[in-house]
């Protein structure tokens, strides 16, 4: 095996795994505060399309990034309002966000699909994704605000009794998660592809959700998990290149099957999952009880 091939593979793994790390680390923080946001796929798609359209119209990467992030803030803000203020079912609301996002992105992007753009260098974002994992890890374990986030996620009633603002904390974490997802979307349409196509995130939002479970809500494990996963996903191409004879579709389904296997592996130890999951996850906080 020659060194060029190894570097080539590593390179592809780095480039293709970054959106999973970005979306995953955002969702990890959201879930740490006790909110399950199933809308990642929708957030990513809208982030991808807003970034793309802005770039086509203005030709400016900064504006493109800015509006992509704004789309994440707005959409996750709506999600936050529904689940926090109106105390809606988080699973159903997340699904609504995904369906809405799929529709909205397809509607907005129709005119622009197929427009060629010049992609942005993905390496900035690879570095940023590593830094973000480092920062989130430090934030959650070493800072006071991080402790508050965790307290809110473990037991919102106790945190509230101690005088912490549960709703405000969760607004912050949900919006952080939303921004990270739209950033992942921006990365996909501007750096990774670079193009716009309906539904181009191809389930990455859901895979990022699975990675948070796999990581048992620990930032570093999320990074490791994402790269193991990215490696498996890339393996399909190499197996094909080596000449393993299987129809292409079976290689394409490998990432999804791998996700299921990983989830089974990690969930089968019921106690461990229960101990590491934030105790208030997916439970609405009702102040007026």
């Amino acid at each position: 095996m020659n060194i060029d091939l190894v570097i080539g593979i590593l390179n592809i793994v780095l480039i293709s795994t970054t959106p999973l790390v970005l979306a995953g680390i955002g969702e990890l923080v959201t879930e740490k505060s006790g909110v399950l946001n199933l809308g990642l796929e929708g957030l990513m798609l809208v982030g991808a399309v807003t970034g793309f359209i802005t770039l086509v119209l203005t030709g400016n990467y900064f504006y493109s990034l800015f509006f992509s992030i704004i789309s994440g803030v707005i959409l996750s803000g709506i999600f936050a309002f529904l689940v926090l203020n109106l105390m809606t079912n988080q699973i159903a609301t997340g699904l609504a966000l995904t369906i809405f996002g799929i529709g909205l992105s397809a509607m907005l992007g129709k005119k622009f699909s197929g427009t060629p753009i010049e992609g942005l260098n993905p390496y900035y974002f690879i570095v940023i994704s590593f830094l973000l994992v480092l920062m989130v890890s430090y934030f959650l374990s070493k800072t006071k605000s991080g402790l508050i986030v965790r307290a809110v996620g473990e037991n919102h009633n106790s945190a509230y009794a101690l005088g912490y603002n549960v709703i405000k904390t969760r607004y912050m974490t949900i919006i952080f998660g939303g921004v990270m997802s739209s950033l992942a979307g921006f990365y996909i349409s501007i750096c990774y592809a670079p193009m716009w196509q309906e539904g181009m995130t191809a389930g990455r939002g859901w895979i990022a959700l699975a990675l948070v479970v796999f990581a048992t809500w620990k930032p570093w494990r999320l990074l490791v998990g994402a790269y193991i996963f990215g490696g498996v996903a890339i393996m399909q191409m190499n197996l094909q290149a080596i000449g393993v004879k299987l129809p292409g579709q079976f290689f394409n389904m490998m990432p999804y099957l791998a996700t299921i296997l990983v989830l089974v592996f990690i969930s089968s130890n019921k106690l461990r999952l229960k101990l590491s999951a934030p105790a208030s996850l997916n439970i609405p906080f009702e102040k007026n009880q």
Binding site: L86, T88, I91, A92, L95, I99, M107, G203, Q249
Partner: protein
Amino acid sequence: MVYLINIKLREDYSNLIFYLSPLVAVFLTLFFGSFIFLLLDLSPIESFKIFFISPISNSYGISELFVKATPLAIIALGLSYCFKNNIYNIGAEGQLTMGAIFGGGIGLLFNDSTSIFLLPLMILFGAIGGAFWATIPALLKTKFNTNEILTSLMLTYVALFILDYFVVGPWKDPAGYGLPKSMPFPDAGRLPVLFDGLRIHIGVYFAIIICFISYIVYNKTLFGFKLRVSGFSSKASQYAGFKYKNLIFYTFLISGACAGLAGLFEVSGPIGLLYRDISPNYGFTAIIVAFLGRLNPLGIILSSLLIALTYLGAEDAQLFLKIPSAVGFVFQGLVLFFLLGTDFLNKYKVSIS
């Protein structure tokens, strides 16, 4: 003057608000939708006419409405069993695809058959295919405690690749100019239509029968009672001695079988063969249909008709207003947002003082 908004937990449970809130949600969606039309530089009134009225202004349109509503209703009725039990099967799209592969496979296997038993056999295998695909997340949930939301969704992607494999590989029509589609099913494997020249088919009867059965199951049987109890509290159901794992399993099987049935009806009804895009997201949209219908069998029938209208409207909007048909999904997402939001009024009393 200072206004204070008081929010209090409702002590009296209001059935009226519970069943009225879907209407409020629909109204809010239309209101919000008119802003979308305004943003797109279209006259809201004209657009609404094209979106919601002209698609069903003739017999062909009404037939098409039922063609779209049938799979939505059948899938959503199945999903209501899961959702009542607080089990989130969101992989109905994959179960639908598997139903189409299993049932459609039978149709292709006996492609020179003229037997009257071919269609019943295809329908049976459609249901089995969907149920089989739903068994996987159900088993993983009950045996390994794996999150059913993620596994059922991942299996949807897998099912779509399997369908793709069959229609570009072993089942490709040799006379199909290399297109990724199968041979047409024999006439004996086609779903009878209700009226000549229209596409509305006997799947409608199935939807009504499933609705009727579901009503009886929910209101008159022990199984329905167990579902309601465990939906309110899985702990209560365990204390009562109900086998919660069995409930998970059965509800998954029912919803999978329904989705598989819907998939088979699509391919042996309107489509007539297997190809890549057999479903315009029916499996996902049915989730909204189930919630909008309040998990009530009759409510689901009504909401399936309403959501089916967004499909037709979106097609017409693409044709006449030149806006992408994805606007239909935007409406569907909005209606669910508003429905969940209005639930707030159902749980809490809001007063301004």
